[in-house]
């Protein structure tokens, strides 16, 4: 009896040590995890701060209204930001409707068969294809085979293909989160499939789809590699024809066939120059690019946050 007691007390000491050791390890890991977190956040902060310090003093009204120039202190981003706006318009006009349609098909219409399986694996795989491969696709298909040239339309189509998987996935997730009862109630009232989709599901899925569209567009705004690959010029000192005109028919689509440059291309071009003055200009262009992408991502995160609050 007495031996048993002493034995268990010995074990008790060991257990206590074991527990203490395990708890210390636990704490150590929690601290490590937190430190890694801090380092990751510091990297993002350093990046933003680096751009702010290098670039912000260079930003002025002239910088926004000047064309690129051979003299670094006169170089501006007028053609670049106008190009970015027009390319993004084209990309959105193509990718959002097609991505939504594909998402609705896969989530609501697709029968369970091998063809649907192939499409699903395809979309997943396309999301992982490096962007420069899309550039080679555009070079081979749009530029060399269809001979469309290095135009805003080609850039818009290329980036639209690139962000299509993002919008498809966002649409599907938004549709999937709508309760089945809504569909059943609508069918019960005599609606057919398309009426259910158009009148009930798409309005309910709108915030989710919007989030996906914004994330996709912010990805497209910063993409450089595919646009370099199609052979877009980097020195553009003119603007595409204006999309709006004073005389009828008021809207003009000639800009789609215009050569162009965009912000990331302009920035890359300036980085590759030897003169330090151009590097400052690159940082300034980078500040604007960063601001745009961070704002768009922030907006997407905010909308998602609102959706989740609404669901609770």
């Amino acid at each position: 009896m007495s031996t048993e007691v002493s034995k268990s007390s010995v074990e008790g000491i060991d257990e206590q040590r074991l527990v203490q050791k395990a708890n210390r390890q636990d704490l150590r890991f929690a601290v490590t995890g937190f430190l890694v977190l801090v380092v990751a956040m510091a990297a993002l902060l350093a990046l933003v701060a680096d751009f702010m310090i290098d670039g912000v003093p260079r930003i002025s009204v002239d910088f926004l209204t000047n064309f690129p120039s051979r003299r670094p202190d006169q170089a501006g981003i007028l053609s670049a930001w106008v190009g970015t706006v027009l390319v993004m318009l084209t990309t959105a006009a193509l990718a959002v409707p097609i991505g939504m349609a594909a998402g609705v098909y896969l989530e609501e219409y697709a029968p369970k068969n091998w063809m649907t399986d192939i499409i699903e694996i395809n979309v997943t795989n396309l999301a992982g294809v490096p962007s420069i491969i899309y550039g080679l696709l555009a070079l081979g298909l749009f530029v060399q085979t269809l001979r469309l040239g290095q135009t805003i339309l080609v850039a818009g189509m290329t980036l639209a293909l690139l962000i299509l998987p993002i919008i498809i996935v966002a649409t599907r997730e938004a549709l999937r989160s709508i309760p089945l009862e809504i569909r059943e109630a609508a069918y019960g009232l005599g609606a057919d499939k398309w009426q259910v989709v158009r009148m009930y599901l798409l309005p309910a899925a709108r915030p989710g789809i919007l989030t996906g569209a914004i994330v996709g567009m912010s990805r497209a705004i910063g993409e450089t590699a595919p646009i370099i690959t199609i052979g877009a010029l980097t020195f553009i000192a003119f603007l595409p024809p204006a999309p709006l005109q004073p005389e009828p028919p008021f809207i003009n689509f000639e800009w789609l066939n215009s050569p162009f440059t965009v912000l990331p291309i302009q920035m890359f071009n300036w980085i590759s120059r030897p003169q330090a003055g151009f590097h400052v200009a690159a940082a300034a262009a980078g500040v604007i690019l960063l601001l745009l992408t961070l704002l768009m991502n922030g907006l997407a995160i905010y909308i998602r946050y609102k959706i989740r609050r609404g669901q609770k």
Partner: protein, 318 residues
Amino acid sequence: MTIEAITAPSAGAVQYGRLVPSEAFLRWRAISGRVVSVILFAAAALSVFVTASIVYILVYDSVLFFRQVSIIDFLTDTEWTPVFDNPRFGIMTLVSGTLMTTLIGLVVAVPTGTILAIYLSEFARPRVREFIKPILELLAGVPTVAFGYFALFFLTPIFQGFIPGLSTFNLLVPGIVIGIMILPYIVSVAEDAMRAVPDTLREGAYALGFTRLQTSVKVVIPGAFSGVTAAYILGMSRAVGETMVVAIAAGQQARIAYDPLEGAATITAYIVQISLGDLPHNSLAYLTIFAAGLTLFLITLIFNLIAFWLRRKYREVY
């Protein structure tokens, strides 16, 4: 809505106190439903067409290339000099550059990503998680060209301060920056997999007296193993395809990359370099970018398919 209001036949008439849809309306609705479903299918099938076009274009131009260069030379030569008078086409030079930056990126991102994923999934309070995940998303949203600038003009000078002999263009700094870039993807996929492990398993472990760390290492990670592996492979695939950081900060000299302190061209940086030049579009040197692109596509395709299969596996288990 408005289009339908103009073109649709009138919905029907009220009979015996209820709405009876007219024949014309039902016929119109059936036809328009069919038309819409065909359009939606076409949109979904576009993705298959895109993949098919990618494969067709890469293979077609690569075949033109391999008619003039033997595939054995392509895989075994140790020099890559397509624009020289006596051109050599050893893709392994470019592949070695790509592998080196990928490896450095993984060395940075895999341990930190795993620790962060465990921390967010098992340790952090919900409010901390709600705060951190958006920041990681912001990090993932930074344009790659901005990371390139950051690598060349910010990190490289700092690293040169304490690594003597580090060239202005090197593989080390772009590799580290690639690690930072793929970190958010690894964290998000790995955390997703860990959270899919049912709480009953965790509760069982806690009931046996496990600490959080023991639960994470002995229960959650084994349970989420395929998903965590998928996260690494997806990160690897992104690192291989990353373009602008290496095009800006890793240099353009194609050589077998064994010293990370020196610069070397990667597959992607080479494609950018040729695209910026003014080679005639039908020259042999120009066709190399499609052969290089095909190599890149095959590497990432294999990674992506493995990751797809692994992720599907853990989704099925729970």
